[in-house]
């Protein structure tokens, strides 16, 4: 069992797609989860359909959606870092790294989950993963928590191989769907007439994949 899991992702809803089921499973088994969400996703393009959010109201709406999603998954500890969407790669790296380092020292996680830098499509995803890897890479080898990375860029398996952790999370689909539905501004229209996502989407959602990061030295 993982004692304490630290999740570091940049956008509200990153947790929903990538690892909601895996987190729900760990939480059921007794794990503590701290989720550091770096931005409020305030530059997102989805505004609901028909649009009910604006650039002005979106940050507040997404903050509430993030809190509801965490509740649906069972995440006990949510930390919002207050960075601005799309700007993670432009932040002062040392300042960001030291905030992540302080959080790691505070909660002493047994597992950290983030995006695989270079293979996570969105610049914020790559920059978040890179900050986590840099920070943990600076810790003495015997003090590093295990790091699981999420990758989904086109052709990523040709570069980093198959994921070494593949979780079938069908049993935790209710929590995962509740997490996705909590992000109402982002996922309206995902569901078919019966109030469920299409079977093809459900199949894709049922598998969560992670690569254990191998530090060079």
């Amino acid at each position: 069992m993982e004692r304490h899991i630290l999740v570091v992702l940049p956008h509200p809803d990153d947790e929903a797609f990538g690892l909601a089921g895996t987190l729900a499973k760990h939480i059921e088994q007794g794990s503590q989860v701290t989720y550091a969400c770096l931005t409020l996703g305030e530059m997102g393009r989805n505004m609901g359909y028909p649009p009910f959010a604006s650039r002005v109201t979106l940050p507040g709406i997404r903050r509430a959606e993030l809190e509801a999603s965490c509740k649906a998954i069972g995440i006990q500890d949510l930390r919002m870092f207050g960075l601005h969407d799309k700007t993670v790669e432009f932040e002062d790296q040392d300042a960001l790294d030291s905030r992540i380092d302080a959080l790691i020292k505070e909660i002493n996680p047994s597992l950290v989950v983030t995006f695989y830098p270079g293979y996570a499509v969105h610049p914020d995803h790559d920059a978040t993963g890179a900050a986590v890897i840099r920070t943990i890479g600076r810790l003495p080898k015997d003090q590093r928590p295990t790091v699981h990375c999420i990758a989904f860029s086109n052709g990523h398996e040709e570069k980093i191989g198959k994921p070494d952790i593949v979780n079938d999370i069908n049993k935790y689909m209710p929590q995962k769907l509740a997490s996705l539905r909590a992000h109402k501004s982002q996922f309206q229209g995902m569901e078919s007439g019966e109030g469920m996502p299409e079977q093809q989407i459900l199949d894709r959602l049922a598998t969560e994949r992670f690569w254990t990061y191998r530090f060079e030295a």
Partner: protein
């Protein structure tokens, strides 16, 4: 957000003229454009809380709409606007949404920073 009422927007533009305003101006294809379709060129740009002042401005077109604001030394121009926040009294909040409701363009003006 409501579909743009052209006359209402013109009144709001007129009310905000002749003083320093904070502007948010943005256009985006979305960060995933090339991920879903490699023929797409992902582009996004925004400027947030720069200060502008216009002597006159207007809304044009039959929808989606265009807005032009004449500055002392230049212009603010935005095309593709479809919606506005009707409940705002002091600020002008305009956005352009595509057929799926996704934001493509935004133009916002406010006497206070966003």
């Amino acid at each position: 957000m409501k579909p743009i009422d052209k006359a209402d927007i013109q009144q709001r533009i007129d009310r905000l003229g002749g003083r320093d305003l904070y502007i948010h101006l943005e256009m985006t294809t979305g960060a995933y454009a090339a991920h879903w379709d490699s023929s797409k060129h992902p582009a996004a740009t925004f400027i947030n809380n720069a200060i502008v002042r216009y002597a006159h401005g207007s809304i044009s077109g039959e929808g989606p709409y265009r807005v032009g604001l004449k500055l002392p030394h230049g212009w603010v121009y935005s095309e593709g606007l479809t919606h506005y926040e009707e409940t705002e009294s002091e600020r002008l909040i305009l956005a352009g949404h595509d057929s799926q409701g996704k934001l493509v363009v935004a133009l916002q003006l406010s006497p206070e920073p966003f």
